[in-house]
């Protein structure tokens, strides 16, 4: 991706048709080669624009899982047309490679025929241009977000954009999962869609009316449950109904029905603190369901629960949803758990960070109930892992330049010791492993793993390769070294690869007294980051820099200073001792 190809150029300029023409002019193998080197979000965007024959040719050359997911980012009529247009040999091979259930699913879709989706609407969706194309449109969307963005005003120095202008539509009848690493702004997006936070630009429409002017019939389930601890479970569930001025008898009936639907019958007079986490979240669900919302928003609803409880709650939610036992027409789920998204969602939207924008938006046409370890399930999980570990593309040409760019790539909030741990683990595994294996072994969600992986790759101790994490030679040397060598390697790596640390170090070297208040660097960072984020950057930089013996820090005077002794001698003396 380092060299700029004509293909990449036209994509970054948003000239999809031109990009498609370039691909068409290449011979099929070269076209596939060029296509596969594109970032995922571009692959998806471009694939949607490709004429059927070219799409079919590419579909034959790509890995089967990628073909499958890309196919499902197009309207169903197109899926059928593309599969029909595939080279028969490729098609047989594609079908062969697909796991049994996935194949069956695809066969069912093909059998439904093209009349299931209107080709005209599909064509319109393609013309819309942006890389976001909604799944087949059957009904009017309930919520439509038009170019909503969010930025926070900073004192003095302009605004920081946390969410880039985003279009999004939520249709009835689907569970939509919004996936992203922590801090990617997915909760903010949810709050804008639910009308809790006004967007800084663009607008949110509920049934074609601006959300400010209507009272959206929505309910939210919170990660922290957000129950009032001084109210009983019943009073908690009744609170939103009281707010609707509902009479006491109706309120009681509705609340009791909601409670029994989530299995909390008999706990009406209990206080939240008497309940386990799972039970509390059930009460949270009951409160949300009692208002009979049209859209149910869920903000990481299972993240605070243990694995088994979360699993059973997810199952019960699906049962209510699939059995049409609740009048809710759409569910919008924010999560950082990839498996959870694949388990529940009919459509998955993946967000990138800084500022948040949609990287991918695709359907998950798997039948419920879904099995955790079934091949087609893993197909999606693997795909999303690859999507999320591939580095974000820098916005290429001036088309979308946000207010102010960070001078330094942000440091992931990870301790130096944790990085060593990861490298050792990877070394024990022979220097290379699947990311979701690692996540599994470390009992880490993508939320925690991604920043860790990011820090290892930032220091060039490891690199990601299509969902695998692999040690570099320095990384291997680090993993096998003793403590003083490690510090030396870490020092070299940070000076070479971490601009913030390099900057701090050069400022300290340049100053005659080799001292500097940490405030100075915090101020620079605060021009681009919020106070809390800048503080976090400083803390990580301090941790890394102290570990690397780059500088010393005195927390009382809040001053950084260069180490007195030359670092090389110092490490040697430590070794000798």
């Amino acid at each position: 991706m380092s060299h700029v190809t004509p293909l990449g150029m036209s994509i970054s300029q948003g000239r999809w048709e031109h990009a498609a023409e370039i691909l068409e002019r290449l011979d099929p193998a070269a076209a596939a080669e060029a296509f596969i080197t594109l970032p995922f979000e571009d692959q998806q965007g471009l694939f949607r624009k490709l004429p059927i024959p070219l799409a079919a040719a590419l579909a034959g050359d790509l890995p089967y899982y990628q073909t499958y997911v890309l196919l499902h980012s197009r309207p169903q009529a197109d899926v059928i047309a593309i599969v029909d247009a595939m080279n028969p040999d490729d098609r047989v091979q594609f079908f062969d490679q697909l796991p049994q259930e996935t194949w069956q699913q695809l066969m069912d879709e093909l059998a439904e025929g093209p009349e299931a989706a209107s080709a005209e609407e599909a064509a319109k969706a393609i013309e819309a241009g942006a890389p976001v194309v909604a799944p087949p449109v059957h009904e009017e969307p309930i919520i439509e977000a038009r170019a909503i963005e969010k930025s926070f005003q900073r004192e003095g120095s302009g605004a920081i954009q946390v969410i880039a202008p985003t279009d999004l539509a939520i249709e009835p009848g689907v569970i939509v999962a919004l996936l992203g690493a922590s801090g990617s702004g997915k909760s903010t997006l949810l709050r804008m869609l639910a009308g809790l936070t006004p967007p800084s630009g663009g607008e949110v429409l509920w049934h074609k009316r601006p959300i400010r002017e209507c009272r959206p019939n929505a309910a939210i389930v919170f990660q922290s449950f957000a129950l009032f601890p001084w109210l009983t479970v019943l009073e908690n569930v009744e609170a939103p109904l009281e707010a609707q001025a509902m009479k006491i008898t109706d309120r009681h009936r509705r609340a009791l029905r909601a409670l029994s639907s989530v299995g909390l019958k008999g706990f009406e007079s209990a206080y939240p603190k008497e309940l386990s986490g799972g039970m509390k979240q059930r009460a949270g669900f009951a409160r949300a369901l009692a208002v009979e919302p049209e859209v149910l928003f869920m903000d990481e609803p299972f993240s605070a629960l243990d694995v088994l409880t979360a699993e059973s709650l997810r199952g019960e939610l699906l049962e209510l949803w699939l059995g049409k036992k609740i009048p809710t027409r759409s569910i919008f789920l924010v999560t950082h758990n990839i498996e959870e998204a694949v388990m529940l969602a009919d459509r998955i939207i993946v967000l990138s960070r800084n500022p948040a924008k949609i990287r991918a938006d695709f359907r998950v046409p798997l039948a419920h109930p879904r099995e955790h370890n079934s091949p087609e399930f893993l197909l999606y999980v693997d795909y999303i892992y690859k999507l999320m570990t591939q580095p974000d593309r820098q916005p290429g040409l001036p088309s979308a330049a946000p207010a102010a760019r960070m001078p330094y790539p942000p440091l992931p909030n990870i301790h130096s010791g944790t990085i060593s741990g990861l490298l050792e683990l990877l070394n024990d595994r022979g220097g290379k492993d699947d990311l979701y294996h690692i996540a599994d072994d470390l009992q880490m969600g993508i939320n925690n793993l991604l920043p860790l992986v990011e820090s290892a790759t930032m220091l060039s101790f490891a690199r990601t390769d299509r969902g695998d994490l692999e040690l570099t030679p320095t990384g291997k040397a680090f993993a096998e070294a003793d403590i003083s060598t490690r510090k030396r390697l870490f020092r070299e790596a940070s000076l070479a690869n971490v601009p913030l640390l390099k900057h701090i170090y050069s400022v300290l070297t340049a100053k005659s007294d080799h001292r500097m208040p940490v405030e100075f660097f915090r101020d620079i960072l605060q021009e681009h980051l919020s106070e809390a984020e800048a503080q976090q950057q400083i803390e990580t930089a301090l941790d890394w820099g102290r570990y690397a013996n780059l500088f010393a820090y005195d927390s009382e005077s809040e001053r950084l200073s260069l180490h007195q002794a030359a670092p090389a001698e110092e490490t040697e003396s430590v070794t000798r001792a």
């Binding site: 809790l196 009272r215 919170f222 109210l231 009281e242 001025a245 603190k273 928003f297």
Partner: protein, 583 residues
């Protein structure tokens, strides 16, 4: 479980639940009796308040008069507390919800909180008497307003900061589910503020006793403005040198304080535990037998069902309907917008006028007046700091000794609490009596008086700090064989530092307040005084020198506020960052 079935059956047929009828009647008897007593007390009080002012109040020293005096004192405290509560809720709500008002309300609160209220005692009393000429009500209101100004600020600050720190997820939940401002107040903001409010109320009322005693003994020049109450009883007894009456008075004082603690504060604390913001149930929950009695009472349960619940229901539904009718895109920042604007405007105009007048009054100050004010300020400053030093010198070793021995602390704590609960101002006449008998002047006596008001805060905090010293660090000291001096320097003093500072801050505020009544005393028809700002204030009031009174009060307020900002706040910050023992 049995509780809920009982209430349910009671709801179905209120009068037929005869089983256990006698027992439950007996249980409700104290509640009914206290209701009647309360009513009787109110009748007596209203008759007394409307009575014409008696310019030469006669205080009877017979112990039989004591219940009546106690009633008067408690009524003043109660009235002042209710006034404080109402103002607290309004002030805190407006400050927390209106960011424009917040910008001046909070700094104002901060300043008012640190101004020594007693410096206003003379002026408040005089103006209130002028407001209601010829009625007892005037002096009564004066004392109530004074107690109110002493206790409202920390309550308001507590409620304000609770309201500002309501967890985001709960706020979002109430926004997402469209709660009306009323429902949000009743179901979220008030419950979240409850615990802080109860604790601060307790502290405020304890402080209120301090001011009440001073008010009840107040004599202005040759106007005897004493109020019949425990304070004037104690003073009259000391004046007469009647040891028996002094003991009776003290006993009544302690009894009233213990009764209020048991009947009001314990139940209130136990009740407020319900509002603890916790996700897991705590093991050691404060309990109160009185609260259990109230909770089990059928009279109260029935009254709740008959009046409280329907009222709550109607209010909630009413405000929900109002909230629903409002256009959602025209959010009102606060339901008190217009009254708020009017009040803010009036307040601004009033402040501007007062400052204008004050500048005029101060301009008439002569050089000698200024000199005496500054001299007095210096003397009082030294006296206050010296009394703090004395307090520290004896309380630190004693407090650490008690605090590190849990068994001793269990015995000593309640005794110290009762002793400390007697307001220092109540003891002034007695101490004065003893010191004057012993032949010391007011110079020494005033320091003893200040010490009386300050030492307890420090002692309690030191005990608390010492008992919180972590065992593992103590064992480290043992393991490394630290000498006694090293141990104090490296472990004990840094360990109790945050507690010590908290104690000193409270004590310092108390000492400045006390200086006004300690430096200038009418006793046995004579006037004793010593050099000091408090004496200047009291003397100016007696002599009717309005400009000196204003100037001295302003200097004292400015001095205390500056000290708080420059010294105590910094020390407190240091204590809460560097010397905090984290788990």
């Amino acid at each position: 479980m049995s509780h809920s079935t009982e209430t349910r059956s009671a709801r179905l047929a209120p009068w037929s639940a005869s089983r256990g009828g006698v027992a439950s009647l007996l249980r409700d008897l104290p509640i009914l009796a206290s209701g009647l007593a309360l009513f009787y007390g109110l009748v007596i009080l209203s008759r007394y308040w409307a009575s014409p002012v008696n310019s030469q109040p006669e205080i009877h020293l017979s112990p039989r008069a004591l219940p009546g005096y106690a009633l008067y004192s408690v009524a003043r405290i109660t009235a002042a507390y209710i006034l404080s509560l109402i103002v607290t809720l309004i002030y805190a709500y407006v400050a927390a919800h209106n960011s424009r008002a917040e910008r001046f309300m909070i700094p104002l609160l901060d300043t008012l909180q640190s101004i020594p209220v007693l410096s206003f005692l003379p002026s408040v009393m005089v103006s209130m008497v002028a407001l209601f000429p010829g009625r007892q009500l005037g002096i009564e209101l004066g004392s109530i307003v004074l107690i109110f100004t002493g206790q409202v600020w920390n309550m308001a600050f507590s409620v304000y900061s609770s309201m500002k720190s309501v967890p985001t997820d709960l706020l979002e939940a109430s926004q997402a589910y469209g709660l009306s401002w009323w429902q949000k107040l009743v179901q979220l903001e008030l419950p979240y503020s409850a615990i802080g409010l109860v604790w601060n109320s307790m502290m405020s009322v304890a402080g209120g006793w301090f001011f009440l005693m001073a008010c009840e003994m107040f004599v202005l020049g040759n106007h005897d403005l004493r109020l019949p109450g425990l304070g004037s009883y104690l003073q009259t007894a000391a004046n007469a040198g009647d040891t028996g009456a002094i003991l009776w008075g003290l006993a009544a004082m302690v009894a009233v304080i213990i009764l209020m603690d048991q009947l009001i504060w314990r139940p209130a604390i136990a009740w407020s535990q319900k509002f603890k913001f916790e996700q897991v149930e705590a093991t050691d929950v404060p309990r109160s037998p009185i609260l259990d009695l109230l909770r089990r009472s059928r009279v109260i349960a029935r009254a709740e069902r008959a009046f409280l619940m329907p009222a709550r229901e109607r209010l909630t539904l009413h405000f929900a309907a109002v909230h629903d009718r409002e256009r959602p895109d025209s959010p009102r920042s606060s339901p008190l917008k217009w009254p708020g604007r009017v009040i803010a405007g009036a307040a601004l105009a009033g402040v501007a006028y007062a400052v204008w007048r004050m500048v005029f009054a101060l301009a008439t100050l002569s050089h000698s007046d200024l000199l005496s004010i500054l001299q007095g300020a210096g003397a009082t400053f030294l006296r206050v700091e010296f009394s703090l030093l004395l307090a520290g010198l004896w309380t630190i070793p004693v407090g650490v000794y008690i605090g590190t021995r849990p068994r001793l602390a269990a015995v000593a704590q309640p005794i110290a609490q009762v002793t400390a609960s007697i307001p220092a101002t109540a003891l002034f006449p007695i101490v004065l009596l003893l010191l004057i008998r012993a032949g010391g002047g007011l110079g020494i006596a005033s320091i003893v008086l200040l010490l009386l008001g300050t030492q307890w805060y420090v002692l309690f905090n030191v005990i608390a700090g010492a008992s919180a010293l972590p065992t593992d660090l103590r064992e480290v000291c043992d393991a490394f064989g630290l000498t006694k001096i090293e141990r104090w320097r490296k472990f004990i003093l840094p360990g109790i530092f945050p507690y010590l500072i908290t104690g000193f801050i409270t004590a310092s505020g108390g000492a400045w307040n006390a200086s006004i009544v300690a430096e200038y005393v009418h006793f046995r028809g004579e006037t004793f005084s010593t050099t000091g700002l408090g004496a200047v204030i009291s003397h100016a009031t007696d002599a009717g020198q309005i400009s000196v009174l204003l100037g001295a009060t302003a200097v004292m307020a400015a001095l205390v506020v500056t000290l708080n900002r420059l010294v105590w706040r910094r020390l407190y910050f240091l204590a809460s960052t560097r010397f905090k023992l984290e788990a």
